[in-house]
């Protein structure tokens, strides 16, 4: 019955405490295809592939490879059959070199190994797939993109026939993604098979032959690429017709409300992360700040919000110098901050919903009166917030850590927008959210803009940047590479700026 199928996963069910990550999922591979696995965050993609790569055992269902039932007891068993997975979170030893890491990945590594031979093999494979690596470099010296290449090489060197890549483009610049796709196509030309996990529709359409969509742990269809389009895929992914629209009216932005003037600041390791940022924000606009993570975006937000020391330069708000203000004074001035790491910074996950709602206003009327908290008001406010923002809370007294990402984000947004701020700075507001929650977050940001607030949107997700920004600035190595009107911007221009190339210079490269 295999009918030329390379892999068949039948009726796979996998439960974790409180969730069914995969429920009766069927999935198959034909030799020589690039098969995309598409689905929102939490749809069960990583789980399904961890089963195929021997990491997890399914609770029910079976896996067969070339018609023979395969029972994996560990990833080693899968590797023996030529199945290799590159995880979302890399599994490299940071203090070791590229070569040593690749060596560790080889089955039955002998104690002494012919380094020369291995190095030659690495170089050969690297050239074959057009992947630049330095075998002697230490992992900690490498960028995320380079680390990913090492992971892929590790798999290729083991003669992997079935390569699983878990959201590989999440950490890449558009340019690096293109390079990865080239590698993947070359891999396919050799008759090998790849599984490409993503929740980005454009990528899936660009690279895959067939697409399997997972939705809430179930298979929502397996389709050939040429028989579908992005709208259809989005619909299957969320279960409704595309929710991808965020309506945004044409709007004239107002006067300057916030200005960074030649701001310099260090990162946590004491290395200069902001190297002279000059930037201004107007009322009623969304200023998108694009860039690969780690180019100073986080530090920029923290400097504005008084959570990081500004070495030199100033930040002014309504022409008033607010440099060096503490977060409370900044917030009182009318600036709100939606931090990127919701759980680590934006919330106290062990406290309940009301306690989290009052985090930034507990000290003033009407949330507290004198030294006492005003529980009557807090209760009403909680009720109203839950209704207005349609938040699924369960028991109010439960710690908020039990809520889903989308509901947590709603809680944060509700809290931050409660006082009608004049400036909102949002860092990756939709990271880790599913489509419904993502659209909701974006819609709420647009509402703030329409109300007249100036919004700074820091995001790595270009889709998001393009969707709601009025102007787009690109950060690269602590500097603003360029600022474009959203109307004049396109992926290519932004991509170049993100890669550190000033517009008009690309010819020199």
């Amino acid at each position: 019955m295999a009918g030329g199928k390379l892999v068949e996963m039948t009726d796979i069910t996998k439960r974790f405490p409180g969730v069914v990550a995969n429920s009766c999922v069927c999935f198959d591979l034909v030799p020589g295809e690039i098969h995309a696995l598409l689905g929102e965050n939490g749809a069960g993609k990583s789980t399904l592939m961890s089963i195929l790569s021997g990491e997890y055992k399914p609770d029910e269902g079976s896996v067969s490879v070339e018609g023979v039932e395969a029972r994996f007891h560990s990833p080693q068993d899968a590797i023996k059959l030529g199945i290799g997975m590159v995880h979302q979170h890399f599994m490299l030893v940071r203090a070791h070199t590229v070569m040593e890491n690749i060596m560790l990945g080889l089955a039955g590594t002998p104690f002494f190994m012919d380094r020369k031979k291995l190095e030659a093999k690495i170089m050969e494979t690297a050239v074959q797939y057009d992947m630049k690596v330095d075998p002697g470099a230490y992992i900690w010296q490498l960028s995320v993109g380079e680390q990913q290449r090492v992971e892929i090489l590790k798999a290729l060197i083991r003669n992997t026939r079935i390569l699983i890549l878990d959201e590989p483009t999440a950490v890449l610049t558009p340019k690096e993604s293109e390079t990865l796709f080239t590698t993947l196509r070359r891999f396919r030309e050799e008759g090998r098979t790849a599984i490409f996990i993503s929740h980005k529709l454009d990528e899936v359409m660009a690279i895959s032959d067939r697409i399997t969509i997972l939705r809430s742990g179930k298979n929502a269809g397996t389709i050939r690429r040429d028989e579908t389009d992005e709208k259809d895929l989005a619909g299957r992914m969320v279960g409704k017709d595309s929710l991808f629209e965020v309506k945004k009216s044409e709007k004239q932005s107002g006067g300057e409300i916030l200005k960074f003037n030649d701001v310099h600041a260090n990162n946590d390791r004491g290395i200069e992360a902001l190297k002279g940022i000059t930037l201004s924000l107007r009322e009623g606009e969304i200023l998108g700040i694009a860039g690969v993570a780690g180019n100073g975006q986080k530090e920029l937000a923290e400097c504005l919000f008084g959570l990081r020391k500004i070495k030199t330069g100033t930040v002014s708000f309504n022409n008033k110098d607010i440099t060096g203000f503490n977060p409370r004074k900044i917030r009182e001035a009318g600036i709100s901050y939606i931090p990127e790491d919701r759980i680590a910074t934006g919330l106290v996950s062990s406290l309940d919903f009301p306690d989290n709602l009052i985090l930034n206003s507990y000290f003033k009327l009407p949330v507290s009166k004198g030294p006492f908290l005003n529980f009557k008001y807090i209760k009403e406010w909680t009720k109203k917030t839950i209704e207005d923002y349609d938040i699924k809370v369960g028991k109010i007294k439960n710690p908020v850590g039990l809520l889903s990402g989308g509901n947590l984000q709603k809680l944060i947004l509700a809290r931050e927008f409660a006082d009608n701020p004049k400036v909102v700075i949002a860092a990756s507001p939709s990271r880790g959210l599913d489509i419904g929650a993502t659209n909701n977050a974006r819609k709420l940001l647009v509402e703030q803009r329409d109300r007249g607030a100036g919004v700074i949107l820091i995001s790595e997700d270009l889709e998001e940047i393009f969707q709601i920004s009025d102007r787009i600035a690109v950060m690269y190595e602590g500097k603003i590479m360029g600022i474009l009107d959203a109307k004049d911007a396109d992926r290519e221009k932004i991509g170049l700026l993100m890669g550190g190339i000033k517009l008009g210079q690309e010819a020199d490269i």
């Binding site: 069910t13 029910e60 006492f372």
Partner: protein, 365 residues
């Protein structure tokens, strides 16, 4: 039939009650084995202990007397623990509280008991508070580890007491006994009705209520709860971490200091060496068993008061060593900390929930 262990997604609502009870039971079981090994009948030993602690009016009074400093110190360390500040200096804070209260009592003969006791109370709170605040300041501004500093401060306080009672404050009529003169009667905490229990327990209970209000009803209590649970969120909200560390350590030390006042003014009526048999350390276990909740501290302190009294009884009637109650205390702490982990899992017996056969495979194009 299949038995599996799963991590709980939601804590069971019973956890706060069950976990301390189960830890206690486990500690008693293990200690029973130790009794047995030592050649004693565990049932008889536990009966002796229980009767010694709760079996008569006299026993209950003795237990409440010992529970009083445990409530106060337990309340104090629980406050600091709540903010992840590991104040193990309640013992020293208790001693300096006792010193300060004695200083007031010995140097100022007030005719009014209320004024005298009130001033002793304030002096003790202030002294204990400052003793706790010093490690707090070091922590807030220098990042010094408060476990070490509070522990060191214990020795300073205990030896300072010895110095005073051997030296400058020594009772001139007391021959060679290391203690101060007896306080004036106006500086004694009155007994409650005609029992041997002194007024310290009333002070302790009032402070329990005040602490509860402080932590759950006020802005500052909210800040402490947030800061203790997530430092980054506290900074994001604009809370002043250094200020809160110092204040909490002051509050924590002040409560232990008040315990020192309650002991000197309620029991010994003078300052003497070894005035606490380690209440400040036992309070750490009291606080954990109470899961840092002010009201539960009362229950847990009475239990430990009983353990101390019952341990003494054991020594008398079965000639077991006093260290028995230390062993039991240690076991309880061990199981309380372990119980936290235990209760974040649940045991599932039987078939898997919601197992349904998959619907017949649909044909996919």
């Amino acid at each position: 039939m299949k038995i599996s262990i799963e991590k709980r997604v939601e804590p069971s609502p019973l956890t706060p009650y069950l976990s301390p009870l189960v830890s206690l039971a486990l500690a008693l079981i293990v200690c029973a084995v130790i009794f047995k090994a030592a050649g004693a009948n565990p049932f008889k030993a536990y009966r002796e202990m229980f009767m010694g602690a709760f079996g008569s009016d006299f026993a209950i009074e003795a237990t409440l007397i010992k529970a009083t400093p445990l409530i106060l110190c337990g309340l104090g360390v629980a406050a600091a623990f709540r903010m992840q500040l590991w104040n193990i200096g309640a013992e020293g804070q208790l001693y300096v509280g006792a010193i300060a209260a004695s200083w007031v009592a010995l140097n100022y003969g007030f005719n009014q008991p209320l004024i005298s006791l009130g001033l002793m109370f304030l002096a003790a709170a202030l002294a204990g508070g400052i003793w706790g605040m010093i490690p707090g300041i070091l922590k807030a501004f220098r990042g010094s580890n408060e476990v070490i500093t509070t522990l060191m401060m214990n020795y300073i306080a205990i030896f300072l007491t010895s110095y005073l009672v051997y030296g400058p404050w020594k009772d001139p009529t007391g021959y060679s006994v290391p203690m101060t003169a007896l306080f004036n009667r106006n500086s004694w905490l009155p007994k409650i009705f005609d029992t041997s229990v002194h007024g310290g327990i009333i002070i302790a209970l009032i402070l329990v209520v005040l602490s509860w209000i402080l932590f759950y009803k006020t802005r500052w209590g909210y800040e402490i709860r947030v800061s203790g649970a997530n430092e980054k969120a506290a900074a994001y909200s604009g809370m002043n971490a250094a200020k809160n560390i110092i204040l909490v350590m002051f509050f924590s030390g002040a409560l232990a200091g008040i315990a020192g006042m309650s002991e000197t003014a309620g029991i010994q009526h003078r300052l003497q060496q070894g005035l606490s048999p380690g209440y400040g350390y036992t309070a750490i276990i009291v606080a954990w068993l109470a899961r840092l909740h002010p009201a539960a501290v009362v229950v847990s302190a009475i239990l430990f008061g009983g353990l101390l009294v019952g341990g003494d009884q054991l020594q008398i009637s079965m000639s077991m060593p006093v260290s028995v109650s230390n062993i039991l205390q240690g076991l309880i702490l061990f199981f309380v900390l372990g119980g936290e982990i235990l209760f974040s899992y649940k045991i599932k017996i039987g078939g898997k929930s919601g197992h349904q056969p998959c619907p017949a495979a649909k044909e996919n194009a």
